[in-house]
Amino acid sequence: MKFRKNTILYLFLLFPFFPLGCTEEEEYLPGLTGDAVGYVYLFDEFGNLLDDHSNVKITAIGTRKQYDTYTDSKGRFELKGLPTGTYELHFEKAGFGRLKQFGVKHLGGKPTLLANYFLFKMPATTITNLTIENDTVYGEFLFIFQEQPYSLFLRIYFSTVPGFSRESTQYIMDRELRQYDGRYLRSINLEHAPFSPGEEVFIMASIYTRRTSVKLDLGFSMTISGIDTYFDYELNQTIYPNLSNVSDHFSFIFPE
């Protein structure tokens, strides 16, 4: 009697645990995770490096989940325990243009070393005048601070329709205007513009900043290259994150 009771007890104890024994499926595609480390550098609207790169929010968007973190004052950020996958990264800080990066591969294992990312302050400078004559574009600006930069990047929108909006622009040209004798100007080639000689063409522009490398002084000198733009596949164009609002409209007569 006692023996049978014990047998039943043993079976009762052992039985539920047999399935738990080594029948766990082999991991053919292991669920790897890993950290990802990167750096964000902040610049003013003219591309001058700032001292403090803290509080930039980085969001990593995966297929199932989103992860976020912030930079420290050196611009360093770390995403911890990120599963293997391809991510979309967003970089945001109030007052700065928002940068995105698509198709970022993270394999897991040892930490992934991400690129350097550059964010620029939204421009406070305004365009007070814009003219095109003799194959040259001239710009006049109102700078909020004393500083007069060596150059300014302009995205110029063209249309034959007065008061046109950015969305309905007929032609776009990007030009870096340089300071020369107290004025900002640059040569401009309108060969491919869809306008006729003698036609009145209206223009307006936005200011943006471009910078793809910077020399860091970290106690030693280190020149790094960084990502400052991204290609938007839906809009089919390169996005300059700190592109300002458009200026007033100006006009010129399209040359012969």
Binding site: L13, G21, L32, M222
Partner: protein, 257 residues
């Protein structure tokens, strides 16, 4: 814990054996390192020593990754190959006794990659012992010093001082937390006790004000070692620096121009 409690209910041998068997069954299935299905990637390259000698044979190159570590030794030409690596991100370590260990980070392997990583190793100053440091001087207290130099008296009667100096504004300065770093060197002349001074020179190149107090620490380090940038911390690291062969933190006032 539960197992022990259970065991206490069994008072005879047979049931005890059964109890132990039960424990073994439930505890035996620990989770191992993940194993990759495809493991066809390769990391290979060439390793050399600074100055080109001795023969760069038997340098151990190790790939640290998500499936554990895998090593290879260089041949007499310094070539190595680590194969059969699965998908993932790896770190590579180059090591040889008597030389500074170097690392490469963030190596991504996927599918059938072959990645080439070369490296050069620098000798460690294994035979050098730091001297005792006595006093810190500038040109006002030791006339043989130049205006932009600091000299530290030592008990060393030899010009050869393979050391690296780290400068900082607080007394926690060390090789991982510093503002500037420079090579130290021994003075060409000796003091009245026939000892050479450790010279910290060219101080006006740094962004310090005249009269500012600066802390410094000295480590044994190969003077030829140019350092490498640590990808995670963005600081300059020195593979031949010997963490334990260091001085106490000392201080000086930056000489005025």
């Amino acid at each position: 814990m539960c197992q022990i409690i259970f065991l206490s209910f069994f008072r005879n041998k047979a049931s005890l054996i059964a109890g132990i068997a039960w424990i073994i069954l439930t505890c035996s299935c620990t989770k191992d390192d993940p194993q990759p299905l495809f493991a066809h990637s390769v990391i290979k390259g060439g390793v050399s020593f600074y100055n080109g000698y001795p023969e760069p044979v038997d340098i151990k190159v190790t790939a640290h990754g998500p499936y554990g570590n895998k090593s290879a030794l260089t041949d007499s030409s310094g070539n190595y190959e680590i194969s059969g690596l699965g998908n993932g991100t790896y770190e590579l370590e180059f090591a040889k006794k008597g030389y500074g260990t170097k690392y490469h980070f963030g190596i991504q392997l996927f599918g059938n990659n072959a990645v080439v990583k070369n490296e050069m190793l620098y000798e460690k100053m294994v035979d050098y012992t730091l001297p005792i440091y006595y006093e810190v001087h500038d040109y006002t207290t030791f006339s043989r010093l130049h205006g932009d130099e600091i000299g530290v008296t030592t008990n060393q009667k030899d010009r050869f001082m393979p050391v690296r100096i780290f400068l900082g504004s607080n007394k926690n300065v060390n090789y991982l937390d510093y503002e500037y770093t420079l090579k130290g060197y021994g003075s060409q002349w000796t003091d009245n006790k026939n000892n050479n001074l450790l010279i910290i020179g060219d101080l006006w190149q740094f962004d310090y004000e005249g009269g500012q107090e600066v802390f410094f620490i000295v480590y044994v380090c190969n003077p030829e070692d140019p350092g490498y940038v640590d990808s995670y911390l963005r600081i300059l690291r020195f593979s031949t620096l010997e963490k334990k062969k260091r001085s106490a933190v000392m201080r000086f006032k930056v000489p005025k121009k």
